[in-house]
C-alpha cells in the first residue's frame, strides 16, 4: 500500500482526529519516507499507533524513530516514523503541542523502542509524555536545568557552582 492509501484508511477509521496529509516535494525517496499525517487530536496518538500496529493490512511492527522538533513559533512537534518489516511500507505521523503545555501520551505500550526515545525527547526538548514508565533525563545530568534543543535555550551561567566558560 502506498502512503496515501494508508492515510485514507486511517482517516476512514478515525475521522477528524487525523489532520492533513503533508507530502514532501522533491525526490521520490523523500515522498515515500518522510511525508506525514498530522494527528490533530493529540490525546488519540496512542490509539492511532495501536491501530497502525494491529490492523492486519498495515502491520506497522517497528517504530523507526521518534524525534522532537521545535517549530519556532512557540509550538513543539513529535514526529513518529513507522515501518512495517512484514509488508515493507512506511508511514510518518506528526503531533504538535504548544510549548508551555507540552503533554503527549506515551506510545511505550505500543512499541518498547519508544521508551528511550521519549526520555530523550523529554531531556532535550521538554516534551512530557504522560503514562511513561520511567520519565527522567537520559543524556544530561538529573539536576540540569533547561531543555537544550529548544530554540530559545540559553547556556546557564553557573552549574553546581562552576562558571560555564563559553
Amino acid at each position: 500500500m502506498t502512503n496515501t492509501e494508508i492515510y485514507d484508511k486511517l482517516k476512514a477509521a478515525f475521522g477528524d482526529k487525523i489532520g492533513d496529509w503533508h507530502e514532501q516535494t522533491g525526490s521520490e525517496y523523500m515522498k515515500k519516507t518522510s511525508s506525514y499525517a498530522d494527528v490533530a487530536d493529540t490525546g488519540y496518538i496512542r490509539d492511532v499507533c495501536l491501530f497502525l500496529r494491529d490492523e492486519p493490512e498495515l502491520e506497522f511492527d517497528s517504530l523507526l524513530l521518534l524525534s522532537s522538533l521545535d517549530n519556532g513559533d512557540k509550538t513543539l512537534s513529535v514526529v513518529y516514523h513507522l515501518e512495517s518489516k512484514a509488508k515493507k511500507q512506511y508511514f510518518a505521523l506528526k503531533v504538535t503541542v504548544p510549548e508551555n503545555n507540552a503533554n503527549v501520551p506515551s506510545v511505550t505500550s505500543v512499541w518498547a523502542h519508544a521508551n528511550w526515545q521519549e526520555r530523550e525527547a523529554w531531556d532535550m526538548m521538554g516534551i512530557n509524555f504522560t503514562d511513561h514508565p520511567d520519565m527522567r533525563r537520559i543524556l544530561l545530568d538529573e539536576d540540569w536545568v533547561g531543555h537544550p534543543l529548544r530554540k530559545e535555550y540559553k547556556q546557564p551561567e553557573f552549574y553546581r557552582g562552576m562558571k560555564v566558560p563559553y
Partner: protein, 411 residues
C-alpha cells in the same frame, strides 16, 4: 626413595591412635531436606559498574542489582560522552556537519558519513557520478570489516581470549593504511562529502585491496579456528542473553542484534541505497547453532559471516570498478546547499545496525533540526531485558555482544 624403618612407622601409628582417642566426635551432617530454607538471609546488592571500566566499551555506567551473582536488574546510565551534536548541527552549514558526524560512531566513520551525505543528497535531488558511488561502497564495506574486526577482537577480550584481539588489529592496520593513502586520516576521515568525495581514490589502493582480500580470508579462517569454535568461548557465549525475535522487532533492534535473533532484515537488501542492488551477497542470520536462537554466540556468528560477505562484495566491486573513469569526484558537489523547506528520514546499514538521519530544514543554509537514530543507542536499551537472570560475568559478555560505541549512543 628411602623406605621408612619399621620402628619409626610403629611409633607414628601409636601417636596417631592416641590422638584419635582424644579427638572430639565429628558432628553428624544434617541431610539437606532438614535445613530450613529461610534460615539464610540474603539481600540485593547494587553494584556500580562505573564509567571507567575496561569492559564497558567506552564510558557507560551500569547499575547492576545483584542477588549474589545473579543479575536481577541492570540500569544503564548514559551521557558521559554527550557532546551536543544535534545542537551544534543547527549552528553549522550542511557541509560543516560532516566532521561532527565522523565523531559519533568513530569506529565506522565512513558508514556514518555515507548516511548523512545520502540524506542531504536525497533532499536536494543531487545525483552523484557512478565512480563516486563505487568508491563510497568500497570504503563502506572496508569500514564494515574494520569495525567487525574491533567488535570480534574486543568480544574475545571480554571472554578472556587475548590472542585474537591483536590478530584482528593487525589486519585492521592494512585497511587503515588504505584509508590514509586516500584521504590522509586513519579514523576520522571527513571524506564522503555531500555530492561527492574530498579526494579521488589513490592509484595504489586497488592493488592493496586485492592483496588485502586474499590475506584477510586467511585471517577470517584463523579467527574462526581460534575463537569461534573454541570450546571455552562457545560455553561462555551459548545460551546467554537470548533475545527473542518479536521482542527485537518491537524494541527497535537492528543490525547483527536483529539478525542474530533469526530475523532476515538487512537494509542493503530490503531497502537498497547507493549501488548495493548490483552486488550479490547473502544475509546471514542466527540459527541457534551452538545454543538457542538469539544468544550471544549467534550475534558473534552473524558478525563473522558478515565479515566474509563484505569480502565477497569487495571482490565484486574490484571486478566492476570503472578503472579508466576520469570524472572529477567533486563534480556534483554543490556550491551552496540550501535544500528549501522539507524533512527527510534517510537510513543506511552500518556495522551496528540502522543509522538514520532525520533532517528538517526551513529555508536556510543551516539545518533546522538533525536527529540521529543511532543503532547502538537503541540496541543498548534492550540490555536490561536480555540480561535478567544471568550471572554477573555473563552480563559483561552480553554487553560485549551488543557491540556499542559510546560516541554514537551519547552523540
Amino acid at each position: 626413595m628411602l623406605s621408612t624403618p619399621s620402628s619409626v612407622l610403629n611409633a607414628m601409628t601409636e601417636v596417631l591412635e592416641r590422638k584419635m582417642q582424644t579427638m572430639p566426635v565429628p558432628v553428624k551432617v544434617v541431610p539437606a531436606e532438614k535445613v530450613e530454607p529461610n534460615r539464610i538471609r540474603t539481600e540485593e546488592m547494587v553494584l556500580n559498574i562505573g564509567p571507567q571500566h575496561p569492559s564497558t566499551h567506552g564510558v557507560l555506567r551500569l547499575e547492576a542489582v545483584l542477588d549474589g551473582e545473579l543479575v536481577i536488574d541492570v540500569v544503564p546510565f548514559l551521557g558521559y560522552l554527550h557532546r551536543c551534536f544535534e545542537k551544534h548541527a543547527e549552528a553549522m552549514t550542511y557541509p560543516q556537519v560532516t566532521p561532527y558526524v565522523d565523531r559519533m560512531d568513530y569506529l565506522a566513520s565512513m558508514n556514518g558519513e555515507h548516511g548523512y551525505a545520502l540524506a542531504v543528497e536525497k533532499m536536494m535531488g543531487i545525483e552523484v557520478p557512478e565512480k563516486v558511488e563505487f568508491i563510497r561502497v568500497l570504503f563502506a564495506e572496508l569500514q564494515r570489516i574494520a569495525s567487525h574486526l574491533v567488535a570480534v577482537g574486543t568480544f574475545g577480550l571480554d571472554t578472556g581470549a587475548f590472542t585474537p584481539f591483536l590478530y584482528c588489529f593487525r589486519d585492521r592496520e592494512d585497511i587503515l593504511e588504505m584509508f590514509e593513502k586516500t584521504c590522509g586520516a586513519r579514523l576520522l576521515y571527513n571524506y564522503i562529502w555531500v555530492g561527492g568525495l574530498s579526494h579521488d581514490l589513490h592509484p595504489d589502493v586497488i592493488g592493496m585491496c586485492r592483496a588485502f582480500v586474499k590475506k584477510n580470508r586467511a585471517t577470517h579462517k584463523e579467527i574462526n579456528d581460534l575463537l569461534t569454535f573454541n570450546k571455552i568461548f562457545v560455553e561462555r557465549t551459548a545460551n546467554i542473553g537470548i533475545l527473542k525475535p518479536d521482542v527485537a522487532i518491537n524494541g527497535g533492534a537492528s543490525g547483527p542484534m536483529l539478525r542474530g535473533s533469526g530475523v532476515k532484515w538487512d537494509l542493503r537488501r530490503d531497502d537498497p541505497y547507493s549501488i548495493y542492488d548490483r552486488f550479490e551477497f547473502e544475509v546471514p542470520v542466527g540459527t541457534g547453532m551452538m545454543g538457542v536462537v538469539g544468544d550471544c554466540f549467534d550475534r558473534h556468528w552473524v558478525r563473522m559471516c558478515e565479515w566474509e560477505q563484505s569480502l565477497n562484495i569487495i571482490e565484486q566491486i574490484l571486478e566492476k570498478f570503472p578503472q579508466d573513469d576520469k570524472t572529477d569526484v567533486q563534480k556534483a558537489v554543490p556550491k551552496r546547499i540550501k535544500p528549501g523547506i522539507g524533512e527527510i528520514y534517510a537510513r543506511t546499514e552500518t556495522p551496528r545496525g540502522e543509522l538514520g538521519y532525520y533532517i528538517a530544514s526551513k529555508d536556510g543554509i543551516n539545518p533546522w533540526r538533525v536527529k540521529v537514530r543511532s543503532p547502538a543507542f537503541v540496541n543498548l536499551s534492550l540490555l536490561p531485558i536480555i540480561s535478567r537472570g544471568y550471572l554477573m560475568a555473563d552480563l559483561i559478555i552480553i554487553l560485549g555482544s551488543i557491540d556499542i560505541v559510546l560516541g554514537e549512543v551519547d552523540r
